[in-house]
Symmetry: D2
Subunit: 390 residues, 4 copies
């Protein structure tokens, strides 16, 4: 089997770029892909960091000039792993240059930018160019199974969506400042960083849109020590005596109305002490329910009202069976997958999209998430009053 190469440029050298690098390298080793990804160039403004990342993660080269890279004939895919404030400019340029684009979430910090990106993606689509947003949790086998169950009607009419994304890495008031706490770079705090995942997951699983929200945001720690050198999420480095202001939310809570009538309750926080990455969602319909927690990402809880009275209960399904999405490519049943597999599956679906089988989330899907985020912020400014997603 000979496959034509798919030459990739990744923009960024942080935690996300590392995860994507692993995915590009690994996907063809476990899945039959029509195109063989080639890790051509890693782009980062900082030379030392970029050079090291390119070397460590297996990229052929490093560049500090994303505009030049986008113009190269020998690049097929631009994979954007930078902070949200830069997405629009890069993605629109790359799509304009005829590159397929995989863009990390959030699509853009500003909804207007996101709208422009959707327009660019639509225009590019007419040329057969693919644009996908990186809501990678969709690629978790357990959640993809849940999606299939719901699409089949196993839950009946959806009444409740209950989503929590609980982390605790900011619980310590002296944890250092990062770009994720800076509104200009990150757009928002827990809301856009992790709450956005919950919104995307909830809308995708239910097949319904959030129509409006009542929201409150909270910042518990309003300044944090500057770190001498940024070393990525969770890094430590030396701390300055100087404290930088935090101008984003530490926590977000909102109640949501769904297009099909379901009532949603969402919470995102980076201060839920004891929870490292509890990306949880539960959905109750009138025929069944599902529940999921990313801290046990290989398990799906499923309840069916069709079971007999004396033997009904949430089933703990190990989503590692060949019957579960993505799972057959890996190990025998019961041998679980990890966080990074979601990115590997994302590459698989991205390549399939290039092949002509479009896989969401489109930029339009991601734009919808941004509009929910905007409604959340608007409602929070308006004392929680129900605010329609526009």
């Amino acid at each position: 089997m000979t496959t034509s190469p798919l030459r990739v440029a990744v923009i960024g050298a942080g935690f996300m770029a590392r995860a994507h690098s692993h995915a590009w390298r690994t996907a063809p080793r476990f899945f039959d892909l029509s195109r063989d990804p080639r890790l051509s160039v890693l782009v980062s403004r900082e030379e030392a960091r970029g050079q090291k990342a390119a070397h460590d993660w297996g990229w052929d080269s490093w560049s500090d000039d994303w505009r030049a890279v986008i113009e190269r004939d020998d690049i097929d895919v631009v994979d954007i792993c930078t902070p949200g404030d830069t997405h629009a400019e890069i993605a629109i340029a790359a799509l304009g240059a005829g590159k397929h684009v995989l863009c990390e979430k959030p699509l853009a910090n500003d909804p207007a930018d996101a709208a422009d990106m959707v327009a660019a993606a639509d225009a590019a689509a007419r040329q057969g160019i693919v644009a996908m947003c990186g809501y990678s949790y969709r690629r978790t086998p357990a959640l993809a199974s849940a999606r299939r169950l719901i699409a089949e009607g196993a839950l009946g009419t959806i009444r409740h969506v209950r989503a929590q994304y609980l982390q605790d890495w900011l619980s310590d008031a002296d944890a250092p400042h990062t770009w994720r706490l800076d509104r200009a770079s990150a757009g928002s705090g827990a809301l856009g960083d992790i709450g956005a995942h919950s919104i995307d997951t909830a809308q995708w699983l239910t097949g319904e849109r959030i129509e409006g929200v009542s929201a409150h945001l909270r910042t518990f720690v309003t300044s944090r020590p500057r770190r001498s050198a940024e070393v990525g999420l969770g890094g430590t480095g030396d701390l300055d005596a100087e404290r930088l202001p935090v101008d984003v939310d530490d926590a977000a809570a909102f109640i949501a109305g769904f297009s099909g009538g379901a009532l949603g309750v969402f919470e995102a926080t980076r201060m839920a002490l004891g929870h490292r990455n509890a990306n949880r969602i539960e959905i109750n319909g009138d025929r069944g329910s599902i529940a999921f927690d990313f801290e046990r990402m290989n398990e799906l809880e499923y309840y069916s009202e069709d079971d007999a009275d004396d033997r009904r209960g949430f089933r703990t399904i190990q989503a590692t069976d060949p019957a579960h999405p993505y799972a057959e490519a890996w190990w025998p049943t019961g041998h679980g997958l990890g966080y990074e597999h979601t990115f590997t599956h994302q590459v698989v679906d991205f390549v399939r999209s290039i092949d002509g089988t479009p896989e969401p989330p489109t930029f339009a899907d991601a734009y919808q998430v941004q509009r929910v985020l905007a409604a959340v912020e608007e409602s929070a400014r308006d004392e929680g009053r129900y605010t329609r997603v526009r």
Copy 2:
């Protein structure tokens, strides 16, 4: 040891009255009480039902006239287990007659009634008469342990309260109508029935008050079949073709601000399919966290940031040790308690209050819960806008 009898009248013949009957009968068998409860009279309007209940549950006699019972000299305690719309009249009369009053929650359907009850309780207190409201979940050893941990400062500053009370007995759209679905009798739906427990538990555990809320209510099933004869919660009976309107909420969701700055997220529903009685609460502070689910009522989850880096995690504490409140009176460690024990402990605390060691919740505490419920309803009518508890 000779103890003077404590002569009790219970008003009601439903599920709650049965639980209280068991508690009055059982408490002196496991705890040293200064007064020996005597199950004197059960009051119920319906003769057949009342007679049978009195006999089955071990009461000396039955009466259909609560006013007459309240005037009897040989009654010391009036235990009110009727729907919420009747509480104020009975409780105020009983307190006026010099009886100690244990009143089921909600204190009253109407906040004005509740205020009157508080005044009556205050007046009675000056005569040494006790009034307590039946938020019995406080008597769960695991939760009482959590209260102690928090009071000691083990959680530090509280940032998050996350409370869900999930049931599913109304999930079936053809489940029969009951008084709990009638606003005139019940006051509200899931909100007052089960959400009230979450509110009381949250305020008691944190030692903080809810200051305001943003809320939404939802009624998914707006009419239900009439049952030929009411046979209590969960009963079946024959169903009429006729459907009665449901004028209370099936589900309530609200975001709350606490007096100490914590952000609360509350949800109460009787349509979370798969959950029978998941009365859950989690509290995150900056030093530790606790989590509880009544479906595993003998367990408390506790996380301490003081544990070393490589051995930190939620501890599953079996709250059945002599070191846990109430537990020593029962069985060896590890031999769990059940739902009804909370009522038995309530009797113990009620008797101790009569002895002169007041145990909350007072009527004033319960009135505060009612005011939160009122704020929730007001906010829900005002599109979720943040509404202060008055």
Copy 3:
């Protein structure tokens, strides 16, 4: 409804007698019984303790002479809650006197005694007299549900039985000596105390007998401080400097062959630090599996191979539904039961046996358990060689 009284004498004043007292008192309040239990007399050799127990637990009177009590015309039931070395003498006498007998496990310390008890029970049965042994865990709704599932064939052919009874109250080498550590009184250690429960549960659930065993016993702490006054399991009292020898096992492990071909693995220990009362059993068949842990006694885990490939998993069933044995008599679904309920259910089944619907375990069933225990001890003496149950 008038019921003739069932006049009960309980022999013993320890932890078990307390549990039985509660059960006799409580059963008629929640179940329709043909006979109304009357707590007539509590028998204990020690006057102070017996008087107090009789008073506290609601018995009409106290006696120190079980022989006299057994001869009384106004006693219908003798309920034996003493250490195992005394069971045979009391039970045989009581059955001979025409009393129904409920005898705590183990049936007898000595298999020959147990055989005599079976003979006495058989003779009494011909007079309509009932004898039951107190393997109360059978009355747990979750386990009774499991029994029903297995009897219906939901598990198919049984291949594996995996039973652990893990406690830790002897983990501390300075925990005080008790009669449970004295071979003359207790017969054996963890083996007979808790392992016997596992054996009974396993044989009852599977409907198969253990045919032979390979066993090892272990005593980790060979002497313990004498307690000035015995105050029951878990009690503390003052400790003497003197240490008494421990001549029973702290832990027992054995591999068992079942009559239907299943392979059993059993472990009983009072030194599994962190486990308070983890009475666990799992059974795997070729169509399904069940698992249970008494520390979560209201839950049954059930796996069915009949579920579809992508939605198979252990179901966590809350065995609190009217569809589960015993549960309908209690609270709404999801409101769990506790340890003591197993004894209340035992009283219900005992009274039904008197009514003519025999409920196991018979003395013969309990004798079979004793023979397994004897085979375990014999195998342990013979270096673990497979020893047939005789």
Copy 4:
């Protein structure tokens, strides 16, 4: 940083070879290694399968002649992923040729072969040549953390080891025959395939040796349909009408005595319906306990008797913190790892061994496991009589 290449040959093209391929490719991307692994050649007897495997998994070339490969100067490491009956010949030859050897478990089907391998490894060690056996579960961060806790004394004196390795892929009596069911290839059944992991883990965690065992083996299904073409573990292929005999155990159970006095209970089965890969171990000491289940491989349960009375319980530790072995190289805390990571970590430790920091398990360690397996089989033939490990 320039690193000299470490040129690897893998022998085998099955499930294990695939896992090892991923590990060699991935380790240098996440860990700083002194030598850069090069996937030089994959050896497999079957050309089509070998060619495809080499291509898919990223090997430079394929060979069908392991002897020739072993003699090549441009090979530094021989990684043996073939069935156990071939290990001795290949490993001894490779060590003799001066290659570092990583050999999958079991070390050898025959203890005499294993002894020869130990001798060869000892001789090679004097030339600076490394030999390691692939007990990869040791590289699970949660288990490596447990090892560290125990080595520090956090559990005190070990009393109980309780290990179960439960799978269910042979539960269906018509699941196809594979080489794992053939004694000549596999040595034994569940015992050597998965029970060997439990033995290694138990000895490594406790730092104690198993001195003797009482064992029983069981084969529930004695013949299985031939599969037209072998397609690896879990593969399906077409089934022949012909059935091949199964001459290995489906399940193994044994009781073990440890050198430090602990009592071990072990069970390994591929017929525990509902369990996919439940590699479980629990260890109880007199100061603390740990418990682990590979189905939740990112979690370690830890109990400490040092915690206060009212807040003691098993802690669920997410072993994904920088404080846990291997974890810092990966993702932020709470983003879990999968099965394959254990192999990646094994490569890291293997390279460190080549660097001069020997990491167990040595061939001698693995030989000890084989001797335990031999004792188990001997005891099983001798009706479970306690058999010393020789």
